[in-house]
Amino acid sequence: MSGHERHDERALPGGEEEPMTAAPLAAADRWLMRACLYVPLAALLLFFALPMGFIAWRSLMQDDGGIGFANYLALLDTPGVWQATRNSLGLGVATTAITLLLAFVLAYGMERTCMRGRRFVAAALTLPLLAPSLVLGLGLIFILGRNGIVGQLLGIRPDIYGFHGLLIADVLYALPQAVLILRAALRCADARQYEAAEVLGATPWRQFRDITLPGMRYGLLSAGFVVFTVTITDFGNAVVIGGDFSVLATEIYNQVSGQMRFGIGAVVGLLLLLPAALSVWIERVAAQRQAGIGAESAQPPQPRIARGRDGLYAIACLGIASAICAVVATVVIAGFIRLWPYRLDLTLKHYDITVSGGYASLWASLAVSLIAATAGTLLLFLLAFSVRRLSGWPARAATLLATLPVGVPGLVLGLAYVFAFNEPALPWGALYGSLFLLAMCNFYHYHTQGYVSMATGLRAVPAQLEEAVAVLGGGVGRLLADVHLPALRITLWAVAAFLFMRSMVTLSAVIFLVTPELSLSAVTVMRLDEAGFTSQAAAFSTCIMAVVGAVALLLHRLTSRCRVP
């Protein structure tokens, strides 16, 4: 079944519907197309489904040595778990609502207006991605904590710990991921629809309501689901700024690291997959409703100057961007201060880091992140491309698997990798303790965000263009090279950068995979912080951000040089 092309119905811009007629693929091409699906699918099975299978097995292993559902039943009696569930859901909904609103303003401002400072906004938005999770929490405490800058200035002791602090931190953390998806969605519109609307005399509001919003429905849904899921699975912010506000991710930590009990931790980890699984179903419904917007000569809308609107968006976007910068900058500055917040003279001494392995881990992280970004982007591209062209159960299974990883808390993923790969008898056991396995772990941790961005971006590729290439005798190779790669160039770079940045700083999974010889920079930051060297942790975080920034700039230079003038 897998070789059949999908015959979905796609609406033409004019509104009339016409079934897409697919030209038959040559035999060799059919094999190539299948390879495009099966390679990423096999990787998903090995690096995601297999480890999670071990977690499912663990969730059935009872304390008495038997197999059964005792852990699931024990969960019902675990004190505090209902409170944590309610807290997580409430926090997830609030974070999603606020993040989507802000992310929409940011994405729209950057894609559809001529506002000033778009580069600054884009750069500021990468900060929460490339900063170790400690940085956001620490920055917020430095600014809004009981002894923070704001409190000092106003002479009060504000209480940021708990729901509100966690809400701010999670919005900051989720915002760039939502913007990544929404920008990809906004890029796939057709300027001619707007021109037609203009001719018909539609007001800008009407155009927004009838063209922009419907075209973004898929992107908004995906972004909402990603934000909700990363919020309920995030541990880093919850532990630093969450105070007594318990959430499911901290509940797992209490079980696994606090009390060395894997059973209930595994159960909660599996239950957190539910929102992600649900979203796959919602996405399918949404995708059926979404009119195909790509047309053969679709032209991306070129924003026109509109002073009032541009000014408003500039104020809003620059405001958000400045707030993000302020949080991160506070931590960067604290790394240069002798003793924050008591002795404020500047010093470089915190950069002299000799404990916790020193700077060596920075280079290991760089290698891991480069592998995660290149291998990850390639696999994601092949996957998104092939499930668009192929139907049948392998494609459906791949879509489901691709969407689930976001629901797995890092701690559970790390445990899953130990269970699955610390098995010398099995062929993949040799990977344990390797740089490559760490790279795969980091990539699959953020697989969903990359996949959703890629799939959203692919919707911009007009089906008619694909048909035209097929009719002219172009095979899969031509299709990729002439249609998809050019259309997706920006999204590909955005996804690669995203994977690279997250891989540099993600922590909770890799705690289980680092070895005495191979440590990562995020672990060094954690160790410095645990040992009480807060300023050194800030300094090391600054170094990580500087390295990521330098690599991003380098890539930017390289890509802009090969850009067709």
């Binding site: 007594d244 606090g258 008591y342 916790s356 130990v418 070895t515 040992a531 009480g532």
Partner: protein, 341 residues
């Protein structure tokens, strides 16, 4: 232009070499892997000294916090990657699943240890320990015109309401050791009554053992119930902090070491364990540790700095670690039901 071929084959060979290097090799003879929860600067000093005394052993150390290390050891239990557990909270080590991974070995020097500092069956011994302490921010205390608390009973006074941060016993070993000490010291009834009174003053139960001290030193709270180590480190960094060892008794934890059954290099593992009880090691412990169990060790500089009396038995709760480990689940369940937030 010269041919690119040699360069390419060289780079292929390099890539293959890298790939081979990427796969972790199990600890070979001469290599020793220790999993530890000791503190960063201690590890650095101990390993440097051990490498000097045992030059033929390549000592590799993985350091994680007490809780993370436990999860890691248990997760890897099917195929352990380390040869020894070195300096890890005894309460965690006494979990039967961990004890099962250990092999009895009477390290040289362990015969001199007191019975409470080693296992009857030789599966573990503890050379060092750490104790609970209050981290008190003197600036906040002065600004709020509060007296310096000197005991657990003081902390329950209403004047400190909202100014105390304490580790959450459900997520932190330090937090558990503190409530276990209070419950063992006062007895269950008085202990729970006290914990409830204390709860009225606690602003936040923080999820790690050292973080309450960090919150206190940065002025977020006036008092952080934490560890003596964290307090001394903060004072050394220059924070306006005073360490208080509660006069009505401080909980403490022993840092235990043991040999893994699965070790493929037991000869070197044993030599390393012997070294951790050697006079050279004991000399180093006095620089960092308030509690050193090795008899005949001179009074530690850390203990002097902490203002501890020569006889520690007066300030330490007489902890029963086997009981702490055994009652852990029940105690934490009660804590969560009666106090947990």
């Amino acid at each position: 232009m010269r041919s690119h071929r040699p360069a390419r084959s060289r780079s292929i060979r390099l890539a293959l070499g890298l790939l081979a290097g990427l796969a972790a090799l199990p600890a070979a003879a001469g290599t020793l892997v220790a999993y530890t929860a000791l503190e960063e600067d201690e590890i650095k000093a101990y390993v440097a000294a051990a490498k000097k005394d045992l030059p033929d052993i390549d000592i590799k150390v993985l350091r994680l916090s007490t809780g993370d290390l436990g999860a890691r050891i248990l997760a890897e239990a099917g195929n352990p990657r380390h040869d020894v557990i070195w300096g890890w909270a005894l309460t965690n080590l006494l979990d039967p699943r961990i004890v099962d991974l250990l092999e009895p070995y009477a390290a040289r020097g362990s015969e001199a240890l007191a019975a409470k500092d080693k296992a009857a069956d030789g599966k573990w011994f503890a050379a060092t320990g750490y104790m609970a302490a209050f981290c008190v921010n003197t600036e906040i205390l002065a600004a709020k015109k509060l007296p310096l608390p000197t005991s657990w009973q003081d902390l329950a006074k209403p004047i400190y309401k909202g100014e105390i941060a304490m580790p959450n016993p459900v997520s932190s070993g330090t937090g558990y050791l503190q409530i276990a000490a209070l419950l063992q010291g006062m007895g269950a009834d008085a202990g729970w009554k006290y914990l409830k009174a204390l709860d009225g003053n606690v602003a936040q139960y923080i999820k790690s053992g050292s973080r309450p001290c960090k919150a206190a030193r940065s002025g977020e709270f006036a008092i952080g119930i934490s560890l003596a180590f964290a307090a001394m480190q903060s004072i050394e960094e220059g924070y306006p902090l005073k360490m208080v060892i509660p006069s009505d008794g401080a909980g403490y934890e022993l840092e235990a070491s043991g040999l893994m059954k699965s070790s493929k290099n037991k000869a070197d593992a044993k030599r390393f364990l012997d070294w951790t009880l050697s006079p050279q090691a004991a000399g180093l412990y006095t620089r960092y540790k308030e509690i050193v169990t090795i008899p005949g060790t001179p009074r530690s500089k850390a203990a002097t700095a902490a203002g501890l009396p020569a006889d520690l038995s007066g300030v330490l709760f007489p902890m029963d670690f086997a009981r702490s480990a055994r009652e852990r689940d029940a105690t934490l369940a009660t804590w969560q039901k009666q106090i947990g937030r």
